[in-house]
């Protein structure tokens, strides 16, 4: 299998889908490489810096038969288009009674850890989860990035692809050919028996690092990656926790009303999973501050490997069986 970067995998996904379906077009203020060379200026559109109109144009064109990919570049810039995301894209199909489909894909980078400071280090996927009406993908590996983005482009609904900045240069094996990963299917990245770590995006690799370190101490960690936040494969998450009885959820968004909160709720709301728990659910998230610039401050704001390990030790301290 080829080893390619996360960024390269995403570019391949777009190029392959544009080759496959002439209705796929892509719009952004800038592109990596020279996609116009292969696809021409009609389908590859350099745009003004106008996120609101781009977001709405993608939606309108999708409702009229195209399959647009709108790249906000950074999720930061999507906030300029809040009306089109919140009032239009997430509601348009339902409020019109399902009379048309809107197959538009919105792409953006997300997350901190690379010294870009508060405005450009955000992980707001839970805001989008809250809207009910957008599908959300959040890959952690090059293979998932390619397969999920291709599935997202083919999906007949608005899909937001959150692409973690810290993973852009990460490399990994990507299957050849038409590699698709279905939306709404979580992936057990490492099987284990003592504790489950649910990681998102960059923190999947961090969780795997922690799992490796703890294996040397005789602790067996299972790492589960939801991969898609809407729809969320809650059954795979619950099955893991029912097996291990302990769970730590790791994400670089702040904990308030977060994907981590939602996952925690969905785990404990299920009676079978609740009864299997041997320790309280733990979240390891960012400190709720605007992400600061200076490296020691930024590192203090975002979850670190030691924080994850400490949380694992803590859930393992609980008695092996519930007293009842």
């Amino acid at each position: 299998m080829r080893e390619i970067t996360f960024q390269r995998a995403l570019e391949e996904a777009v190029a392959e889908e544009m080759r496959r379906d002439p209705k796929v077009i892509t719009m952004a203020t800038d592109f990596t490489g020279d996609p116009i060379k292969e696809f021409g200026p009609t389908r590859v559109r350099f745009t003004p810096i106008s996120e609101a109109v781009l977001t709405g144009m993608g939606l309108g064109a999708a409702g009229c038969g195209l399959r647009p990919i709108v790249n906000w570049r950074m999720v930061t810039f999507s906030f300029v288009a809040m009306d089109q995301i919140v009032n239009q894209a997430s509601k348009i199909r339902y409020m019109f009674g399902g009379q048309a489909n809107f197959p538009v894909t919105y792409r953006c980078t997300t997350g901190g850890g690379i010294g870009l400071a508060a405005q450009h280090s955000q992980s707001p996927y839970s805001m989008w989860m809250h809207l009910a009406g957008l599908k959300i993908i959040l890959p952690s590996t090059p293979a998932d990035a390619k397969g999920l983005l291709k599935s997202g482009i083919r999906d007949d609904n608005p899909v937001v692809s959150f692409e973690c900045s810290r993973l852009a240069t990460a490399t990994g094996p990507v299957p050849d050919g038409d590699h698709l990963v279905p939306l709404g299917v979580a992936d057990v990245k490492r099987p284990g028996t003592d504790v489950t770590i649910v990681g998102l995006a960059y923190y999947v690799s961090e969780a795997l690092g922690v799992a490796e370190e703890l294996a040397a101490e005789g602790i067996s960690v299972e790492v589960v990656d939801p991969r898609t936040l809407v729809p969320l494969d809650v059954e795979t998450l619950r099955a893991s926790v029912r097996k291990t009885g302990r769970v730590v959820i790791v994400d670089e968004a702040p904990p308030t009303c977060s994907a981590a909160s939602e996952i925690a709720s969905l785990l404990v709301e299920d009676s079978e999973t609740f009864r299997a728990l041997r320790a309280p659910v733990r979240r390891v998230c960012a400190v709720p501050v605007p992400v600061p610039y200076s490296p020691p401050l930024e590192q203090a704001a975002l979850p670190r490997r030691d924080d994850i390990k400490a949380a694992v030790y803590e859930v393992l301290k609980e008695p092996a069986r519930r007293s009842d």
Partner: protein, 322 residues
């Protein structure tokens, strides 16, 4: 272009239907038979009808919160519109949308919109799709003077100008953005002045003269069809009623003489006068149009009332395409 008798009759019928539909909607809301908000289009009928008379079924329009007139002018079925107001399953949105979200994609009506300015980006997307399809289809984007103060208006005109999109921006300047007069919202009262900045033709016209609207919109639509790009058409008009009502009709806050002066320029009376004075329609024919509209609306209400309410078990249907 001189319009013949059937065209004049069709435009008159459409304008009368729009007016009577919204007068009826007000009554139905007061009576508690429909829900939510009503934004009557009464007084502005010449804009929707004059513009849409230039469009084919393949052409598309986007609308506003005050959208019933655009729906009717684009060819939507008033029975399904009425059923939507009644919140029934035979409504255009199966009762999920209501007045502010009526759409009929089959006739190119891409939806009313509850957000001022929200339809402009969507219209640009429809125009982009038409441009890429290359069949010469055009998109008309209806919006009000209030939307011209929104960022989405400027972003939409900018990109439409840069990409020469086949779109006609139709500003219905009804003199008030919600309850605030144009002069307190804009440093210049002519919204069409923005056209020059975005490198497109801009025209201020009498939005209460359906023949002038039809002719001016016709030129803009033809220009878009030829691939020569967008236009901005500002139609000066006036809404006769309040901005919005819920359970009760709100008190009038505008000057009485201002309202009277605009009512003296009633777009329907002017078209009737034009048709009668030129012998295009007889008084009996005008009466018959009004009679038929009343009959059609009675039928629409009957259709809506016999349609069932949605079943709560279908609450999640239409969330996502499969």
């Amino acid at each position: 272009m001189t319009l013949d008798k059937p065209q004049i009759a069709a435009m008159l019928r459409s304008m009368v239907l729009i007016r009577e539909f919204d007068e009826l909607a007000i009554q139905l809301r007061v009576a508690g038979k429909i829900y939510g908000a009503v934004h009557p289009y009464v007084g502005q009928e010449a804009v929707a009808v004059g513009v849409c008379a230039n469009l084919t079924p393949q052409d598309r329009v986007t609308s506003t919160h005050r959208g019933h007139g655009h729906c009717i002018a684009k060819g939507a079925d008033i029975r399904r519109m009425m059923a939507e107001l009644f919140g029934r399953v035979d409504g255009y949105c199966k009762g999920k949308g209501g007045s502010m979200h009526i759409a009929d994609f089959a006739v190119g009506m891409l939806g009313a919109n509850g957000i001022v300015g929200g339809g402009l980006p969507i219209a640009c997307g429809a125009a982009l799709a038409a441009q890429i399809d290359g069949r010469g289809d055009v998109t008309v984007c209806f919006f009000g003077d209030g939307a011209a103060a929104e960022g989405e208006f400027h972003e939409a005109l900018n990109i439409a100008g840069v990409w020469k999109l086949p779109i006609v921006f139709v500003c219905e300047n009804n003199q008030y953005a919600a309850n605030n007069a144009v002069a307190v919202q804009h440093p210049r009262v002519d919204i069409a002045a923005h056209a020059a900045v975005y490198a497109m033709p801009g025209l201020v016209i009498d939005g209460n003269d359906v023949l002038e609207v039809h002719a001016s919109a016709g030129e803009a639509v033809a220009r878009a069809r030829r691939g020569e790009g967008p236009s901005l058409l500002e139609c000066k008009t006036y809404r006769w009623h309040f901005h919005a009502m819920r359970a009760a009709i709100p008190p009038e806050t505008r000057p009485a003489d201002e309202i009277a002066s605009w009512k003296a320029r009633d777009p329907i009376a002017r078209l009737e006068q034009h048709a009668l004075s030129r012998g295009l329609l007889s008084a009996a024919e005008v009466g018959a149009i009004q009679e038929r509209v009343r009959g059609d609306l009675n039928e629409a209400v009957a259709f809506a009332e016999q349609s069932p309410f949605p079943d709560p078990k279908d609450l999640l249907v239409d969330m996502f395409a499969r």
